[in-house]
């Protein structure tokens, strides 16, 4: 019981320290010396480390590569090995938390997650996202309705169109006063029906 209390207290203290350190990445050398140095070197990874500490190691997502990959995610001023050593030696009371800090670092490589095929009235949709660490860095559609949703909607509007249903355009002759058309240039006006009408009077 006492051991459990001690462990919980230690864990709480470690968590508090991690949160404080995350809030001040430019921690002074004194603070860095007293607290797990491994987390100071990689301020951006303190949150995942914190989460990992409260979770069994097996909870890591499957497919996560080896922990040493953390070295490539952010450039570190010190080698991983020395930081780990410092963390374990300078804060021996927190051995439960400190080693996990290094082993639970998020993966640096991209991994792809493919969603299920979802069928709707327009066709099938399937997307795939690419995750790097905790961020989605890409998203592609593996399958989309072939005609496009808007295209099929347009067809539907056409079918329900209130006017005439698109007969072939024909010539219609009648006596006219004027002609509406796309804006003619000064030159094309000379050959236009409007020019003929203008000259007829």
């Amino acid at each position: 019981m006492r051991r459990a209390l001690f462990a919980i207290t230690g864990l709480a203290a470690g968590t508090t320290a991690l949160v404080v350190l995350k809030g001040s990445p430019a921690a002074t050398p004194v603070a860095a010396g007293e607290l797990p140095a491994g987390t100071v070197a990689v301020p951006g990874e303190s949150a995942p480390a914190n989460r990992a500490a409260t979770r069994p190691p097996s909870a890591r997502p499957s497919g996560t590569p080896a922990p040493k990959a953390s070295a490539s995610r952010t450039p570190r001023p010190k080698p991983t090995a020395s930081a780990t050593t410092k963390a374990t030696t300078s804060a021996p009371r927190r051995t439960t938390a400190a080693p996990r800090t290094t082993t639970a670092a998020p993966p640096a490589t991209n991994r792809k997650v493919t969603g299920p095929v979802v069928t709707n009235e327009f066709g099938n949709v399937q997307v795939q996202i690419t995750v790097s660490g905790t961020k989605i860095v890409n998203c592609v559609a593996l399958e989309l309705p072939s005609g496009g949703q808007s295209g099929q909607r347009s067809d539907r509007v056409d079918a329900a169109y209130s006017g005439t249903s698109g007969q072939v355009v024909q010539r219609q002759s009648a006596s006219l006063d004027t002609v509406s058309g796309a804006t003619y240039t000064s030159r094309s006006y000379q050959q236009s029906l409007q020019a003929a009408l203008d000259q007829a009077r």
Binding site: S150, G151, R153, S154, V157, D158, Y161, S162, G163, T164, S165, G166, Q167, V168, V169, Q170, R171, Q172, S173, A174, S175, L176, D177, T178, V179, S180, G181, A182, T183, Y184, T185, S186, S188, Y189, Q191, S192, L193, Q194, A195, A196, L197, D198, R201
Partner: protein
């Protein structure tokens, strides 16, 4: 003025805004009065061209675009045009875009708007029967000199000397936008590429500036413009698609009923 002997009114054509503008005054007014009215119409249109042309570096539009004029320093006319263009950008879901080319170019609204203003001024001056055709965008009021409602043909999109529809009315704004005169020049502002699908769009309403802008926006939309026009309140339309189908509103004011 040879026509004055056989019919009342005046007819005049002038080259303004890079196109031909035809004015038909059908009121039985003294010849001097008709000439004065026509002078005012073309004087206004030339003034609009000087102030709104994007081809003239010293126009008000170009000076505003370069930042030489602040919005507060612009004329009331330019402020009106800019505000209408902004409203049209919203009303057309961005498909009418005065900045589609990357710089301010309100030409898609200005021609119809200026012709509408000219027609409104004619009406106010007592010339209630007239037809003003600004390069294919038409505003008619009252009756022709023959005493019947104006007959407005819609140009056949493949045959320059033919029409595919004839509209008739005493108070119509008829604007047509299409790709057959100047090539595929209407840009789809979302893709930045020439619009495809609709060869000719004619919009009929009460305001020529709006009708012109709506027709241009529908061409930019492509086939989706068909459904969009069908839902547009207070306007009627006729469309010819690239594959030569003609679609039009049931309420279109057709001469002699719908073509077979």
């Amino acid at each position: 003025m040879t026509a004055a002997a056989t019919r009342p009114g005046l007819r005049r054509v002038e080259q303004v805004m890079g196109t031909a503008i035809s004015l038909d005054l059908a009121d039985d007014l003294p010849a001097a009065t008709l000439r004065e009215l026509a002078d005012e119409v073309f004087g206004w249109l030339r003034e609009v061209d000087a102030r709104f042309s994007t081809y003239r570096a010293d126009s008000e539009v170009c000076r505003f675009d370069r930042g030489e004029l602040s919005f507060a320093e612009t004329s009331a006319d330019l402020r009106t045009v800019l505000e209408r263009c902004a409203e049209l950008w919203g009303a057309t879901d961005g498909f009418f875009d005065a900045y589609a080319t990357g710089r301010l170019d309100p030409s898609g609204y200005v021609k119809g708007w200026s012709a509408q203003v000219a027609s409104d001024r004619l009406l106010a001056a007592g010339a209630a029967n007239h037809c003003l055709n600004a390069g294919g965008d038409v505003r008619v009021r009252g009756h022709s000199a023959a005493g019947r409602p104006w007959r407005v043909g819609v140009r056949h999109p493949w045959e320059p000397a033919a029409t595919c529809l004839v509209l008739t009315g005493t108070d119509l704004a008829v604007a047509t936008s299409g790709v057959y005169e100047r090539g595929p020049h209407v840009l789809d502002p979302r893709r930045g590429a020439p619009a495809r699908g609709l060869r000719s769009v004619t919009v009929v309403g009460a305001d020529l500036g709006l009708a012109d802008a709506y027709a241009t926006a529908a061409v930019a939309m492509g086939p989706a413009g068909i459904g969009w026009l069908d839902r547009l309140p207070d306007h009627r339309h006729a469309i010819v698609t690239d594959d030569a189908r003609l679609l039009h509103s049931t309420a279109l004011p057709l001469e002699g009923g719908a073509p077979s």
